[in-house]
Every structure is written in structure tokens, then in C-alpha cells.
Symmetry: C2
Subunit: 201 residues, 2 copies
């Protein structure tokens, strides 16, 4: 590693460690069905969705904060990996523990006060209390539906043979219903997939 | 495609088209030398660098705008592809034409006033006049150096046999010298690579 003042050196160490998010494979596949998505490009797509769909958020929502939350929300997967959205409650609890440890380690690379600021961003996303965090989580729930079902569900029936629209609605509605335009979009995508025969009712 | 009100349908079309940025391969490889980077994960990394290194920008720089510029700056590569940073002036001129056409087509998918806002973001990045655009372009010049040379230049000597530190300095300095901390970082990375023997002087 280059010799640098400690603050800049620590930031470089953090940014190079973050490069590993590009190797974290998600269960969602790209829209064209060629390969699974990774968590770094997923984070970019979410931030772009936030810029594009910000008028679906309530007036007064801090759009810059939504983007910040989305840019860092999956970094803990560098230590903890990605989890399927329909995993068991036990698996989700184990994942939460692994992610908390990963957050401490990864953001611990940063100098203060940045370390605290990034840990607070991560905690805000996980707590899902602020409008910004809830809108960010709604986009995070919507994006894989766009990739998988809006374009005809390429290969999805083979990858997710047990998934039904009923199950998908039950899993997605809690994150999406507070943002009517996003929930309308999600429902239209599911209806299209059911009509096309790529998602069982 | 789902049946939606025209505005939301147009935004969905745009966001699904943007998924193709994940298939645009860059000439830079990931830090661990496993594969080339794609332009979507590169855009994410740049936005994260902006969050992390914002104290390297002059006081008063609009950080949220820098992030927006970086999130959309490479979208035109969906139509135009990526170009090596040391390509000829003629290749750069052809690329600029292809990117202008791609911007018109891609951002043309969006409803107004969003279409104009995104076209303005893209034009601001390309014009390199505002502090935000210049800082975004400095990060864009720095990031491949971090991936390629900060970690020991894994496989780089094979991929870029003709590149020297002298040439690299001449290419990178115009974008970086106005931001002293970033230029210090870039120089430290190059010095390290020369000392390690992964970049000829």
C-alpha cells in the first residue's frame, strides 16, 4: 500500500476493501438472463432508481440521503454474503448478526468522524424508521421484481420454481404499500408475469 | 411490459434499459485481478468514493450533485461502449459523437422535465466547468489507478505492457492537480507501483 497520511491511507484501505462487493453474487439475475447480478451493480441500479423515481416519495423526503443509504446498504455483504428474500426467519436472524459484525469491521477501517457517520447510515437503513430509509428499502424490494418479471421472467421459472405471485405479494407488500406509485408498479409487474405464464398465480 | 400510466411506464422502460450498463466491460480489472470491471459497478464505486473523499473537494462543493453526476456519467456507454483512457484523439472525438447520440436516445426515454434534467447532468459532467463536474472527473481518473496499482498491479504488466508512470502522470495530472489530496494519492499509488516493479518508470 502507498505511504500516505493516516487519514487518506485509511480511506484508501476502505475503498479497496469495498471493491470486494463486486464479487458478492445475488440471487437475482440480470434483465437479459445472462448471469446473476452482483451487489455493487445492484447498489448502483438502486441509487439510479432513487434519482429517477424520487417523485414517488412523499414531499420533503431527502433524496440525497436516500441515495447515500442505498450506496452503502449492501456493503456489509462483503463479510456476510447475500440472503434470498424468502429465506427463513432463523436465517434472517443469523444474517442480521453477521451483518452487524461486518459493519463494525468494515466501517471501522474509516477515520472518525466518518466511521460514525457511515455506521449511522447503515443503522438508519436497517432500522427502517425514517422516510428516507423506508423509501430506500421499498426500492430495494422493487428492483429485483423489475429485473426478473418486467422483462418476461427470463429463466426465472427454472430458478424459482416454488415462487407464486401470492407469496411474492405477501413478501413485498409490507415494504412497498406506503409508497402507492411503487406498489402500483410492483403489482403491474406481477400481473404481467402471471398473464405471461412466467409466474404462477 | 406492464400496463402503467405513461409517465411511470416510461421511467420503467428507462430503468430496464439502464440494466444494460452492467454488460459494458471496461479496460480496468477488479482489484483482485479476477475479471474486468463493468461500467455499472464502476459507477457505484465512484459514487462511494465521492461520499468517502468529499473532504478532498473545495469547501462549498455540492456533494449530492457530485454523486448524481457519477451515477449517470457512464450511461451513454450503453450505446457507445467504453474507451481506453490512452486512446487516440481521433478515437476520443468519435467516442464523443457516439456518446452524444446515445445520450439523446437513452435520456429521451424519460418523461419531461426529467429528460431535460438528466441531459443537463450528462452535459455538466462532459463540459467539466463546474467544481462538481471537475471533482467527479477527478475521481473517475483516480479510481482505475486504485484498482490497478494500489494493490500491486495484479496482471497489469501483461495487460498494459507499454504503459509507463511518466505517461500515466501526463494523462492523469490535468484531471487531478486541482484537488491536491487526490493528486497526492494518485502520485503515491504510482510511486508504489514503480517501486514494486509493476509499473515501468
Amino acid at each position: 500500500m502507498p505511504r500516505l497520511d493516516p487519514r487518506l491511507g485509511a480511506q484508501l484501505d476502505f475503498l479497496l476493501t469495498c471493491d470486494r462487493l463486486k464479487a458478492v453474487q445475488r440471487t437475482t439475475w440480470l434483465h437479459d438472463g445472462t448471469r446473476p447480478e452482483n451487489s455493487a451493480e445492484h447498489s448502483w441500479h438502486l441509487a439510479l432508481m432513487a434519482l429517477t423515481l424520487m417523485d414517488c416519495a412523499p414531499a420533503g423526503t431527502n433524496g440525497a440521503r436516500v441515495v447515500e443509504l442505498l450506496l452503502i446498504h449492501d456493503l456489509v455483504e462483503i463479510g456476510a454474503g447475500d440472503l434470498h428474500f424468502d429465506a427463513s426467519a432463523e436465517a434472517h436472524a443469523q444474517q442480521a448478526q453477521a451483518e452487524a459484525a461486518a459493519a463494525k469491521q468494515l466501517f471501522g477501517l474509516l477515520p472518525e468522524p466518518q466511521r460514525t457517520a457511515f455506521l449511522e447510515l447503515h443503522a438508519e437503513f436497517e432500522a427502517a424508521q425514517t422516510t428516507e430509509a423506508r423509501f430506500a428499502r421499498a426500492l430495494d424490494a422493487l428492483q429485483p421484481m423489475l429485473l426478473t418479471w418486467a422483462g418476461g421472467g427470463l429463466g426465472c421459472a427454472e430458478r424459482e420454481p416454488q415462487l407464486t405471485a401470492t407469496r411474492l405479494r405477501a413478501l413485498k407488500e409490507p415494504r412497498l404499500r406506503d409508497f402507492p406509485a411503487l406498489w402500483t408498479l410492483a403489482q403491474a409487474v406481477m400481473d404481467t408475469a402471471v398473464e405471461a405464464g412466467t409466474l404462477p398465480a
